[in-house]
């Protein structure tokens, strides 16, 4: 049996899992099974995923502290468990994905073409801007810039943001002209294999995600 979850099936499971769990008023131990299943599949990157999860807990921690001080311990722990289970699920599934893969996935899932096209364009621009940020950071390092709380530092960053906005205007004009000259008809084509298949591990996973909400086991809160 090939242990693999395709992004499109994983996304559908994540969509269902996050809404279903968000609506739950109790937390059962069985809700942890799908994220654990994904963690086993991605065991090599587990520390990267857990580090990101820790960073994402800042907001949840503020809510948790607020609720503990308001003497609502049950709700505090319920939110802590629910949030972490959903975030861990999402991180395990998408930690190595990029915006292009997300756009391709939504195209495969037959999302509205305008939304998919938008995602393809956003993915393209993100790649460009990421390179600009790398270049900017290198330039700052080369010029001996000291990154500290000062008016000068803020002005430097603001000028860079201004530069990114100007790049954005120019790039959008270039893309608009390219779309017109190539007779863009609202569709973006790709060379990806159109054959649709589902692995046995995916069937087990999707069934598990459904089952834990039909018959939850081991109530914690």
């Amino acid at each position: 049996m090939r242990l693999q979850i395709q992004l499109k099936h994983g996304f559908l499971a994540f969509l269902f899992y996050s809404f279903a769990l968000a609506f739950m008023k109790s937390f059962y131990i069985s809700f942890l099974l799908p994220p654990l299943f994904l963690a086993i599949l991605n065991y090599r990157a587990i520390f990267i995923i857990l580090r990101q999860l820790l960073f994402l807990n800042i907001f949840v921690f503020i809510i948790f502290i607020g609720l503990i001080y308001s003497n609502d311990t049950n709700l505090a722990y319920l939110i802590l468990f629910k949030s972490n289970a959903i975030m861990f699920f999402g991180l395990c599934l998408f930690y190595k994905s990029n915006p292009f893969e997300i756009a391709l996935m939504l195209q495969e899932l037959k999302f509205p073409p305008k939304f998919v096209n938008m995602l393809f364009f956003v993915a393209k621009f993100i790649t460009i801007f990421k390179l600009e940020i790398l270049r900017f950071n290198k330039a700052l390092k080369a010029r001996g810039f000291i990154n500290k709380t000062s008016f000068f530092a803020y002005k430097t960053y603001a000028n860079f943001i201004g530069f990114l906005f100007i790049t954005a205007f120019n790039r959008s004009n270039i893309l608009q002209k390219a779309m017109i000259s190539r007779g863009f008809n609202g569709k973006i084509y790709n060379l990806k294999d159109k054959a649709s298949y589902i692995y046995m591990s995916e069937i087990v996973f999707l069934a598990l995600v459904l089952f834990i909400f039909i018959k939850p086991l081991g109530k914690i809160i």
Binding site: L15, S18, F19, L21, A22, F23, Q52, L56, F59, V60, I62, I63, I65, G66, S70, I79, K82, S83, A85, I86, M87, G90, S97, N98, P99, I102, K114, F115, N117, M118, L119, F121, V122, F125, I126, I128, F129, K130, N147, T149, F151, A153, Y154, Y157, A158, F160, I161, G162, F165, I166, A168, F169, R171, S172, N173, L175, Q176, M179, I180, F184
Partner: protein, 196 residues
């Protein structure tokens, strides 16, 4: 600025998701093919803002830039913010799918309002500088108020948390205001035609 998964109660998740879906349907319907590149490029800029870390004392914070984006995009900022938040939710876990509706409304509504402030014309340098500062400052202030408001109505035990969240966002308001002021003055010098 992002509400995490599992924090909001069922009513808020349902109402915000449905309102966002309706607004999104009409926004995409009204979005012409020729508007796609400009909306996409600003959406990418909003997405990338989370990579720019501004120093603040011993720590650093990342920018939101919803004011600047709203100033240039107007109502199209709604689509731009939604797409960027959708990608952030999947790729980094910021916010989430069940809170995507609430997060989109919280960030995009003040963003759209900033386009009205941006359209005001001032000849006085001081007034213009205040306008540019306010675009950054007010967008975060309004988003923070909306964010705290949503947390507040989530339940009476959330009142303390909502106050803490509002307080935590105060430094960001001023930093975004300063960044917005200098960024606008840079754009005005290099590409003045966008101000016409």
């Amino acid at each position: 600025m992002h509400i995490s998964e599992g924090v909001l109660n069922n009513e808020i998740v349902a109402i915000s998701s449905i309102s966002c879906a309706f607004a999104l349907y009409f926004s995409f319907k009204g979005l012409k093919d020729e508007d796609l590149p400009k909306t996409a490029v600003f959406s990418a800029l909003f997405f990338i803002a989370s990579f720019v870390h501004i120093p603040l004392g011993p720590t650093s914070i990342h920018l939101v830039l919803n004011g600047l984006i709203g100033a240039f995009l107007g109502t199209r900022a709604f689509v731009a913010v939604f797409v960027a938040l959708f990608l952030q939710a999947l790729l980094f876990g910021y916010g989430g799918l069940s809170t995507l509706g609430a997060n989109t409304l919280i960030i995009s509504i003040p963003s759209i309002f900033m386009s009205f402030i941006f359209r005001m014309k001032f000849n006085n340098i001081l007034l213009r500088a205040s306008q540019w500062f306010l675009i950054g400052f007010l967008s975060i202030l309004l988003s923070s108020l909306l964010l705290s408001g949503v947390i507040w109505i989530n339940g009476e035990n959330f009142i303390l948390a909502s106050k803490m969240i509002l307080l935590a966002n105060i430094p960001l308001m001023f930093i975004e205001g300063i960044i917005s002021l200098f960024a606008f003055s840079f754009i005005k010098k290099v590409l003045p035609k966008v101000f016409v």
